[in-house]
């Protein structure tokens, strides 16, 4: 804990710098991801995607964001006003805080905590609260259905997610993300824990409410699910949170399975981002290829397949660790 020995002013300065850095990263990253999603989907669908604004539509999302900023903020009649207004902020805050512990490279981590992964998972659980708030307060039946689905889904998928990550934590013996990356300087954990990697990606897709597990906002069933009644920048915050969440789960995948910043020739931070965007590409690929699962199938899949598999994986890992 070197920060404790630093003077308070330096520490404060570092935190402010970190905060500004994170907010910039979140904004730029979301803009890039939305453009990337549109391009990836377009090329999978035999079309060019945005081409007009900037090089290959590169600043299309900035134009879209400006448009959203200029939109009227509609508050429907009879909403639970404070909850309705708070939900977009509540969904966005934990997303920001999760960046505190993500190690972008050897030295570039705002604060390396010894409970790093627990912190991220705890904040991720707050997302459900925000979705429930949004769905409940909107005074819209589709929103409530979306919120109910979201809670059941997130509770079901957080368990295998945590158990899967636990098997890696067993191997490393630390919750700190930096320690976990350092443990992979010889080989990546995806090589020894392929099942865990697949389980993690599946759970992460469900955790971020992405297709084929996008039931809380299933368009053809629930119109737009929990954010049906949100417009303008409030809607944009939900959108932003979704893409930033995607970045965070991909960053965890990179840290736990793909060796974090490790890689030859290029600097660590470049490797880190390359791997993160590769995982994000995988998640996008799912979305544009699969139909949506049904709600009961989704829950059955989590409780009857993913959780037993994750437990089996954990127990086998524990045995092997004991034998070594």
């Amino acid at each position: 804990m070197e920060s404790i020995t630093q003077p308070a002013a330096v520490s404060l300065l570092g935190m402010v710098a970190g905060l500004i850095g994170v907010i910039t990263l979140v904004a730029v990253n979301a803009l890039f991801l939305i453009w990337m999603e549109r391009k990836v989907s377009a090329h999978m669908q035999l079309r060019p995607g945005p081409m007009e604004v900037g090089w290959h539509g590169a600043i299309q999302t900035i134009a879209d964001a400006l448009k959203l900023l200029g939109k009227e903020l509609i508050t429907p009649k009879d909403v639970d006003r404070w909850v309705y207004l708070a939900a977009p902020i509540v969904i966005f805050l934990p997303v920001l805080l999760s960046f505190l512990v993500i190690p972008f490279s050897q030295n570039l981590v705002i604060r390396d905590m010894n409970v790093g992964i627990l912190l991220i998972l705890a904040f991720a659980a707050l997302t459900v609260l925000a979705i429930l708030m949004a769905g409940w307060a909107s005074n819209n039946k589709y929103s409530v259905l979306g919120a109910i689905r979201s809670v059941a889904q997130n509770v079901a998928y957080e368990i295998p997610l945590l158990i899967t990550l636990m098997s890696i934590i067993l191997m490393v013996g630390s919750f700190s993300l930096v320690d976990i990356v350092n443990a992979q300087n010889r080989f990546w954990f995806v090589l020894v824990q392929p099942v865990a990697f697949i389980l993690y990606i599946t759970c992460a897709t469900a955790e971020t409410n992405r297709a084929p597990f996008d039931l809380p906002e299933a368009e053809s069933e629930l119109v737009a699910g929990f954010h049906t009644e949100y417009s303008g920048m409030r809607f944009a915050l939900f959108f932003l949170a979704e893409y930033t969440n995607m970045f965070i789960v991909s960053a965890i995948a990179t840290v736990f399975f793909l060796g974090g910043w490790h890689g030859p020739f290029l600097p660590g931070i470049v490797w880190f981002f390359l791997k993160v965007y590769f995982v994000i590409f995988l998640i996008m690929w799912f979305r544009w290829t699969f139909p949506r699962v049904r709600f009961d199938q989704l829950i059955t899949f989590a409780w009857k397949i993913l959780i037993p598999l994750a437990f089996a994986n954990l127990i086998i890992t524990a045995f092997i660790m004991k034998l070594r």
């Binding site: 989907s41 053809s220 119109v223 544009w288 949506r292 049904r294 199938q297």
Partner: protein, 370 residues
């Protein structure tokens, strides 16, 4: 469980009339228990334009363009049904070449309708990408029909006594190219959609319709064939030149949503076969009957003509009282009958299933509301 005076409340959800997956302005009133449906009540009439009443105020020719707007997805079959009825009424004989052109274009239109259905249906199930692949294939048909008829969607191409424009080598060439192209696509559709585990789980044993229910509700088209009843007007009451072609009627076994999907997919292949044979066998000669009367003033009487559209049986019943305008035209549309089974099969399914079932019925709402 209800000790504290908790009452079981009906949760009523209005699906539509503005909803992404009701395909037009259909409203389904759902009563839910959790996500289970206890009652589904379709409410129609939002797109009512009074097509049948319009017929009573127009001459026979003036009514022809209405036919492209009843079912906009398989407009040519409606053209054909109406033309056949009027031809029967005034005793016109369509020359062979004219009939062949009608069959070729109607089958192309049928494929276009089914392709759109496959895409839209998968979008209902949450897969966006197949939609654009289907539209890409469908675009070829629209180009072909645009070249021949001058319009892309609401066709008004057939005339009493034949067709106004002959097909040329470019069109024939384009058709053959398209047949080849679409055939090369079946493998993709099968591998990416039909064999997808999620798709199978969403559609197998969902929305099962028994043979008895089919007969009870008067279902037609892929709905009835999905349940294993070989009822296709092209075979059972052959019209036009269909008896000359060798094609099969694809049948389902279980009568679930998956079977209806497969029936439609295989029907497209059969339509390709019909087009291929028609292009090979097409005879020369005139495309319009000689001596088509300018003023159509049939004698007293009534006729009925039925054709097989992409959705089922379309029947046109005309009553004439010897005037320039028909006394009454009754349009028997397949979607109306097909939709009527929804309340029975939707009960005890999930909301997501309802979307799958509603999609599998393939309703065209303007056709119901006509």
């Amino acid at each position: 469980m209800l000790e504290r005076g908790l009452e079981e409340k009906r949760y009523v959800l209005n699906l539509g009339p503005q909803h992404p997956s009701t395909h037009g302005v259909l409203r389904v009133e759902l009563e839910l228990e959790g996500e289970f449906i206890t009652k589904a009540d379709p409410d129609i009439g939002y797109g009512h334009r009074g097509h049948e009443h319009m017929a009573e105020n127009r001459t026979y020719q003036q009514y022809l363009p209405n036919m492209g707007r009843v079912d906009y997805l398989h407009a040519l079959a409606y053209n054909q049904g109406y033309c056949m009825a009027v031809e029967k009424l005034i005793g016109l004989e369509v020359p062979e070449r004219g009939e062949f052109i009608r069959v070729i274009t109607a089958e192309l239109n049928r494929i276009a309708s089914h392709l759109l259905w496959v895409g839209a249906y998968l979008m209902d199930l949450g897969a966006f990408t197949p939609f654009l692949y289907c539209f890409d294939d469908r675009e070829n048909i629209l180009d072909l029909l645009d070249y021949l008829t001058g319009s892309r969607l609401t066709y008004c191409f057939y005339r009493f006594g034949g067709v106004p424009v002959d097909i040329d080598d470019d069109f024939t060439e384009g058709c053959r190219k398209f047949i080849k192209r679409l055939r090369s696509r079946w493998a993709d559709y099968d591998n990416l959609v039909t064999k997808n585990v999620i798709f199978i789980n969403r559609t197998r044993d969902v929305g099962v319709i028994t043979k008895e229910q089919c007969l009870k509700y008067g279902l037609t088209g892929p709905m009835v064939r999905g349940s294993g009843i070989p009822y296709d007007i092209r075979k059972s009451e052959p019209y036009s030149v269909y008896p000359r072609f060798d094609f099969e009627i694809p049948l389902g076994e279980r009568g679930d949503v998956m079977d209806r999907y497969l029936v439609r997919l295989r029907e497209m292949e059969q339509s390709l076969r019909i087009i291929e044979q028609a292009l090979d066998q097409i005879p020369g000669g005139p495309i319009m009957a000689e001596k088509v009367p300018k003023r159509i003033k049939p004698a007293n009487g009534e006729v009925y003509a039925a054709v097989e559209t992409a959705r089922g049986e379309f029947g046109c019943f005309i009553v004439s009282n010897g005037d320039l305008k028909p006394y009454r035209i009754k349009l028997r549309v397949p979607s109306f009958g097909n939709l009527s089974i929804l309340p029975e099969i939707a009960v005890d399914t999930l909301v997501a299933d309802l979307v799958a079932i509603l999609g599998s019925i393939d309703v065209v709402v303007p056709e119901i509301d006509r």
